[in-house]
């Protein structure tokens, strides 16, 4: 019996020594381990951190660059915000007004901002003077609004994840069905018009990118099964910029060409959400590192001169 105990103690000491050795090795390697990564698959681009929570936002989802200002649908911070170089971050609307989870946003030529909310539902507006209102809410069938786009006729198109439909909302708040269930779009997460009037729709439940042409015909543009799940799409200068929160990638799609990856994200930066492009062609990507604890980043991706 004492012999057996001696063997056990000796083995225990050995185990402890090995475990400590392994722990040291793993700790030293953890020091080398990178907690957030951006891999540029296109060498002509470079990445920088444009903004962090230090400027005051929470965990933004949709973002929009317009005339030197960055507008944020701050899902984590439950607010619509605007940032510029001189004034910093300003809240345009917050949770006190009834929004719960700002999702995506658009701005019309007059400077009025419209945004969706996948928890509170509806289409919300902050006009150019700062006046806030719920343009159309749950009472009109908008239960979980996702992608939002500005139609050429000035109306707002908004996708609803619960209804699996796309609705048209006029500036006076009238709601009608634009794309019904017969189009079989599961979750219209993001929408954008190109310069020819075609509407691109990102469905991140079916993992498909659709295009609705000007004859109201719906086409599947990208369907890569499990390898592609479009989160946000933004159209600029003849190309679509697409974020994919499942694969943690930023793509560039030019019609009739292959889908091209610009960057892949890892670690703290893997949850890519919104994307927008400024006048110079610089790309901004919002990252929700931790939605629950309001940790987010805005990463700027620029062409190297």
């Amino acid at each position: 019996m004492p012999m057996k105990k001696q063997i056990s103690i000796s083995n225990g000491v050995k185990c402890l020594a090995i475990a400590l050795g392994a722990l040291f090795l793993l700790t030293s390697c953890k020091v080398l381990g990178k907690e957030g990564l951006v891999l540029m698959t296109d060498d002509s681009y470079k990445a920088t951190v444009f903004a962090t929570n230090k400027i005051g936002f929470g965990a933004p989802d949709g973002i929009l660059w317009n005339k030197g200002k960055l507008y944020l649908a701050d899902e984590g911070g439950v607010a619509l915000e605007a940032w510029d170089q001189d004034d910093g971050l300003k809240k345009l609307m917050d949770g006190q007004f009834g929004t719960k989870s700002p999702e995506d946003l658009v701005m019309d030529a007059q400077g009025n901002i419209f945004f969706s909310d996948d928890d509170a539902g509806g289409v919300w507006e902050v006009d150019a003077t700062g006046k806030q209102r719920l343009l159309a809410g749950k009472d009109k069938g908008l239960f979980s609004t996702e992608g939002i786009a500005l139609a050429p006729d000035g109306s707002i198109l908004v996708g609803d994840a619960d209804a699996h439909e796309v609705f048209r909302v006029t500036k006076d708040g009238a709601v009608s069905i634009f794309l019904g269930r017969e189009f079989e779009i599961s979750k219209p997460e993001s929408m954008v018009f190109d310069d020819k009037g075609n509407l691109y729709i990102a469905d991140n439940e079916k993992n498909v990118l659709y295009m609705l042409d000007t004859n109201h015909q719906l086409h599947v543009v990208i369907d890569r099964k499990d390898q592609f799940s479009p989160e946000t799409i933004f159209y600029a200068k003849g190309a679509l910029y697409i974020t994919d929160s499942h694969a943690s990638k930023l793509y560039l799609y030019t019609p009739n060409e292959e889908l091209k990856t610009i960057a892949a994200f890892g670690g703290q930066l893997k949850n890519v959400q919104g994307v927008t492009v400024d006048e110079r062609g610089d790309i901004y990507v919002s990252i929700q590192s931790d939605l629950k604890h309001n940790v987010g980043f805005i990463i700027k991706i620029t062409k190297e001169s």
Binding site: N11, I18, G21, L37, M40, T41, T52
Partner: protein, 283 residues
């Protein structure tokens, strides 16, 4: 204060030396690639073909299961091998969890332009020079990478799950039967793991960390096998004699899975997880 400064300096020095050694070994191993199509194809075969890669390990496991000159000896060996299987599953789970926590891309990926988060800044990482093997599979992977097709799995290669899994199995076989174990260990180190470094899929650091996980967990389980776990393993090894036909059939399934790094079991688990998600979403 002085002690903490000295410790920090020592830690920094150790880390720097470890990194330098890692880079040197990797450069040496990967330096063998990209020179001969035949050699690269042979190395590729040991990485991509389950029969070549792990078939031998499976055979060793089978041989160790039936080795032993007496009934008592065979039973003791089976007990060790059963403990090894538990350890191998734990090791695979640990390495997967760690690789999702620590983000060190594969050396082949590090040849690309990468920025890492340092505080509130993105800092460009040092790009590694990697020789691309000439076999078709590696060339295709490289073309995909250049075209921007990066697999998410490639962004977290630390620690190596292959190193952890196969070293746990080989060490377990070694504990059960020295002679057979040496064959398994030799194949794991000089064929499977060396191939990973030649192809720049893993750095020595990834492999060392995988090995550390394997040794630690195997040791802990070996320690646990002396108490309550030992009683269960005893019963199981006894049961393998009592129901020899059924245990042989189960052993075939186990060895088959070892040879494919639990690929089919993982696929089944992924399907179960997807089905659960599907049901939760009301699909």
């Amino acid at each position: 204060m002085i002690y903490s400064i000295a410790l920090s300096a020592l830690f920094a020095e150790l880390t720097a030396r470890l990194t330098s050694l890692n880079d040197q070994i990797l450069a040496g191993m990967n330096g063998m690639a990209g020179r001969s199509w035949f050699f690269d194809s042979l190395v590729g075969l040991t990485q991509g073909n389950d029969l070549v890669k792990a078939g031998l390990i499976g055979c060793c496991f089978f041989a160790a299961w039936y080795s032993g000159k007496t009934l008592v000896d065979t039973r003791a060996r089976r007990k060790v091998l059963l403990m090894t299987l538990v350890a191998a599953v734990c090791v695979l789970a640990t390495t997967k969890v760690l690789s999702h926590t620590i983000f060190l891309p594969r050396p082949a990926i590090e040849s690309q332009k990468i920025y890492h988060l340092s505080g509130d800044d993105l800092v460009a990482m040092k790009r590694t020079n990697v020789r691309v093997p000439l076999d078709e599979e590696s060339q295709k992977d490289h073309r995909d990478l250049v075209n921007g097709d990066v697999k998410t799995n490639d962004l977290g290669s630390f620690p190596s799950d292959h190193a952890g899994f196969f070293l746990a199995i080989s060490l377990g076989i070694f504990l059960a039967s020295r002679r057979i174990g040496l064959v398994a260990l030799g194949w794991t180190v000089f064929v499977i793991l060396a191939g990973k470094m030649i192809q720049a899929e893993h750095s020595p650091l990834d492999i060392a960390a995988g090995a550390a996980v394997a040794i630690t967990e195997l040791s802990v389980l070996r320690f646990a096998a002396q108490s309550r776990l030992g009683a269960i393993l005893d019963k199981l090894s006894l049961w393998s004699f009592k129901y020899s036909a059924l245990s042989a059939a189960l052993l075939f399934a186990v060895v088959f899975e070892i040879s494919s790094t639990l690929f089919h079991i993982r696929a089944l688990l992924a399907l179960a997880a997807a089905a659960r998600l599907h049901m939760m979403m009301g699909g």
